[in-house]
């Protein structure tokens, strides 16, 4: 088996010439980023240390054609821990820029705009953590129309754009409003033991294997639904769930600045207060809706969190105002 390889130093130069790529060679492969990375927990093929090392070696084809270089979501959990203080997500961005120039594109699902429905208000562009959306003139029915357009190479499919779009014009396949509503309210009016507790959890806040296992097989009376980011959860999901059969809703997201998609959880924290206040004004018992934020060091707390919510909802009993 021939293992001889061609190492291309010009790849290194190219990456280091991109803004953000300057520190590529400073990395000495300590592996702290790989051990921290949340993406890696779900997809072991993604290894930021390995990517930087491959890039540093100049393995041009391997790096630029890989699917992994597109997976970093710039959550920056690794950055504060890197002993060389390399802003790894910026290096990834630099590598992607080189890849785009070489004709590569991000694989997989990205957000999609319904041009007919779009009113070009710009909210999705403001909300997108990756600045992947811009308002552009696009052809539509013979005349150009101003509408949001998504750069697929920048989009991380978090769905935050969908959560802020008031006219339902932008969505990510698999996590549309319709799809999520179906998952939240699969049987319409709840069958099974009352009261029912709904848990909406983001993909990234469950850090221990036991937490993930619990989420996949929750106890009776609890339904767990996954969304890419807690920021995807519009308050309407909460009210709809209550209206259609859930007696309590727990939304779990990432703590503080640990959001996998930069600011999704901050958005949700803002909404949390408003949701609680609106529930209170409408007389809907704000204790039935709870928001919780889990950090990397909160491993193993998910079952207790859910258990407590379940007990509290049971104590409150089923909703009285549902028709």
């Amino acid at each position: 088996m021939n293992h001889s390889r061609k190492l291309d130093p010009s790849l290194v130069q190219e990456i280091m010439a991109e803004p953000g790529g300057e520190n590529l060679l400073t990395c000495w492969s300590c592996g702290t980023c790989a051990a921290t990375c949340l993406v890696r927990r779900y997809d072991p093929a993604f290894n930021p240390r390995k990517i930087l090392h491959q890039a540093g070696l100049g393995l041009r084809e391997e790096v630029l054609s890989s699917a992994e270089i597109w997976q970093c979501s710039a959550c920056d959990a690794c950055y504060p821990r890197c002993p060389k203080q390399i802003h790894i997500s910026e290096v990834m961005k630099a590598i992607r820029a080189v890849a785009i120039r070489a004709g590569y594109q991000r694989p997989g699902v990205t957000a999609h705009v319904d041009v007919a429905a779009c009113i070009a208000c710009g909210m999705c562009a403001v909300a997108c953590p990756y600045e992947a959306i811009h308002l552009e003139m696009v052809p539509w029915n013979g005349t150009p129309k101003l509408a949001a357009q998504v750069d697929p190479n920048l989009c991380m499919a978090c769905g935050i754009c969908n959560s802020v779009c008031l006219s339902s014009s932008i969505s990510v396949e698999g996590h549309t409003d319709v799809a999520i509503n179906q998952r939240l309210n699969q049987d319409g009016a709840a069958e099974g033991p009352q009261p029912q507790t709904l848990v909406i959890t983001c993909n990234w806040c469950l850090h221990a294997e036991s937490d993930v296992a619990y989420a996949m097989h929750p106890p009776e009376g609890v339904r767990v639904v996954n969304v890419p980011c807690s920021g995807r959860v519009t308050p309407l999901f909460v009210f709809t769930a209550l209206q259609r059969g859930m007696d309590g809703v727990l939304i779990v997201g990432c703590k503080e600045d640990a959001c996998h998609y930069k600011h999704g959880n901050a958005l949700e924290r803002g909404r949390a207060r408003m949701v609680q206040n609106l529930l209170d004004l409408l007389g809907l018992e704000q204790e039935r809706v709870r928001f919780a934020w889990l950090g990397a060091l909160d491993r193993g707390q998910f079952p207790e969190l859910v258990g407590q919510m379940m007990r509290d909802v049971q104590a409150m009993g089923p909703l009285t105002w549902r028709e």
Binding site: W28, S29, C30, G31, T32, C33, A34, A35, T36, R40, R41, P44, N47, R49, K50, C78, R81, C82, P83, K84, Q85, A296, L297, R299, G300
Partner: protein, 621 residues
């Protein structure tokens, strides 16, 4: 240590602090303060009866707070001298100790601090190091998780003279752990805390692992590392022994440690790079090999002894290769970890080296210094006239200049290393440097620029770096145009702004000032003084109507012959591109103004004739 204390020619003054150091090599006057022990040294026999009865317990620093000591105590059983001392911050004055001491009557509550003056010929600084506190690293949980300890704490727990009499126990439950993780490079090799490698942690981690394996053969021990550094004699073999003994080595820096709140066991998550997998492993105890850092009082000591500090904060040696135990101040030497983290063999070697260097001083009748020292002309110094100045003292990296208002500044020749910074900084031209006087430099300028000055690049170079660099260019056969003319001074700090102006007054086409890179300056901070001065020059030139592109500042090391050649080539090209007639016109226009500015210079001895200026009587400082 006992040998040292009993040596007839060694006086150990423990519990004493250095307040002040004056003087110079061979003639230091050191003022120290002996702190009061409240125990009479000539009566106390170290029996410990006082400590037995003392009711007050406080954390023992030597045991890193793991074990207590009394308000009257010694740091540990092998302390030299074995004389007790009372910690007055915690003593409650119950006088039980006095009673216990009995007939010996060694306790004296009336003791006061005592100031002692020492005349010494040489000083050795061997003040050691401290340990980095890992509680600032949140992801490792030190200070939050009970069973995460530092290597130093492990040393005490595993030590048969320590607080647990050598039995390793977990802080959470007092049980001996069945498994231990040791994590390397905590606070070392880390841009956030300390860039450097602490050097001895790999070895002591392996040592601790082997010691534990010896005492607890069934203990599961894992060392998480980035690199194992075992460079010295026998070290690599030691590492092999550890691997053979079944100690596990995982190459991968842990990202975080989390705790099981019930068992207080710890989960260490790290990527095992050899496997290419992230592992999460459970341990009953974790030891952090924390960095060695300079002592907190290093700053203060540096100021007392006029020592400089290297980037990591340890005391700086005169030269890392050629004079590694000399401090920049003559007569002061460094030994051990105070100069940089190192292990015992290296520290002992350095100690011997420092002793030998000090012995040279003590055994000499006289001491030879370089003659290129600075001295003040008292009649020109404005401090002598009662005005407040001291600019020279500020520029001196060695603290060699004393300035008292009302008296002329005084340069202690034994402390002066001859950088010339004070000479260039003095606004009244009141200091000169032997063998590098203003007159000597200006004489060179005059000759070098006598013919066709507009076609020449006048290059000022510092002896240690850029001159060496120019030399290197020559010996390496790097070609460059023959338009440059060089003047050597000891340090770029010596390059007076007036030299630059005089060069232009003489009609120079271009002027280059060059010196060491900031971290290389032979005179520690000379380059910094120069750099700040040169920053102001372009504006001055602009105001004089001289194109500032005719002036260039470059930092060139002695090995950078290529750079020197390149710089001169670039400047030559630039010079060729400038309109000669305009250049001459610039010089003409600027000449009268520069002459006016240099008027005062003409009052310096020998200068009037060299500058070809008439001395006006009215010039007063």
């Amino acid at each position: 240590m006992v040998d040292a204390a009993r040596h007839p020619k060694v006086e150990v003054m423990a519990y004493t602090e250095v307040d002040r150091v004056d003087g110079y090599i061979g003639n230091f006057r050191v003022q120290v303060t002996k702190k009061p022990r409240y125990v009479l040294e000539d009566r106390c026999n170290g029996c410990g009866a006082c400590a037995k009865v003392c009711p007050i317990e406080v954390p023992n620093d030597f045991e890193l707070g793991i074990a207590p000591r009394k308000a009257i105590d010694v740091p540990h059983g092998q302390a030299v001298p074995l004389i007790y001392a009372i910690d007055m911050d915690h003593c409650i004055h119950c006088y039980k100790c006095v009673t216990a001491c009995g007939k010996l009557d060694a306790i004296d509550f009336s003791q006061e601090p005592e100031t002692v003056d020492l005349d010494v010929g040489a000083i050795i600084v061997a003040t050691g190091f401290e340990s980095f506190d890992p509680s600032v690293i949140p992801e490792y949980g030190y200070g939050r998780y009970l069973n995460v300890i530092t290597a130093m704490e492990l040393e005490r727990l595993a030590n048969s003279a320590g607080p647990t009499v050598g039995r390793l126990i977990r802080p959470s439950d007092g049980q001996t752990p069945h498994s231990m993780a040791i994590i390397q490079c905590v606070g070392s090799r880390d841009s956030r805390y300390n860039e450097y490698c602490s050097g001895f942690c790999c070895m002591y981690a392996i040592k601790n692992a082997l010691l534990l394996k010896q005492t607890y053969p069934e203990m599961d021990i894992t060392i998480f590392y980035m690199d194992i550094r075992t460079p010295a004699k026998g070290y690599e073999e030691f590492y092999n022994r550890a691997r053979h003994a079944g100690i596990r080595f995982i190459q991968g820096r842990p990202a975080q440690i989390t705790e099981d709140p019930e068992t207080h066991n710890l989960f260490v998550e790290a990527e095992d790079q050899a496997l290419g997998q992230v592992l999460e492993l459970e341990f009953e105890m974790v030891t952090l090999s924390a960095a060695a850092i300079p002592r907190k009082d290093a700053e203060q000591l540096a100021s007392t002894l006029t020592l400089s500090r290297s980037p990591g904060g340890f005391f700086m040696e005169y030269h890392p290769k050629l004079r590694p135990v000399d401090a920049p101040t003559d007569g002061v030497f460094l030994a051990g970890a105070a100069q940089g983290p190192k292990d015992i063999p290296a520290s002992v070697a350095q100690g011997s080296a420092a002793a030998a260097r000090a012995a040279r001083v003590l055994s000499a009748e006289t001491w030879e210094i370089e003659p290129i020292v600075a001295h003040v002309w008292p009649d020109r110094c404005i401090s002598a006239q009662g005005k407040k100045c001291g600019i020279c003292a500020t520029a001196c990296p060695y603290g060699a200049i004393t300035v008292v208002q009302g008296q002329a500044a005084y340069v202690t020749p034994a402390k002066c290393h001859g950088c010339g910074g004070c000479v260039a900084e003095c606004p009244h031209d009141a200091i000169t440097q032997d063998h590098f006087t203003d007159a000597q430099v200006v004489a060179q300028l005059r000759e070098l620029l006598r013919e066709n000055p507009e076609e020449k690049i006048l290059a000022f170079m510092c002896h240690w770096c850029s001159y060496g660099g120019a030399d290197n260019a020559g010996t390496s056969h790097f070609e460059y145009p023959a338009t440059s003319r060089g003047i050597r001074v000891m340090c770029s700090a010596r390059m007076d702004q007036d030299f630059i102006l005089e060069a232009f007054r003489r009609g120079a086409g271009m002027v280059l000032v060059s010196g060491c890179h900031p971290q290389d300056c032979h005179y520690i901070s000379g380059q910094q003084v120069a750099a700040k001065r040169f920053e102001r020059v372009p504006r001055t030139l602009e105001r004089l109507g001289i194109n500032p592109e005719r002036f260039r500042v470059e930092w060139i090391s002695a090995a950078e012959g290529e750079k020197y050649a390149r710089v001169i080539t670039e400047m030559d090209a630039k010079l060729a591109s400038l309109d000669k007639a305009q250049l001459r016109a610039e010089n003409e226009r600027a000449r009268p103004e520069i002459t006016k500015r240099l008027r005062r210079w003409a009052t310096v001895p020998h200068m009037a004739e060299l500058l070809e200026m008439e001395l006006k009587e009215e010039v007063k400082v």
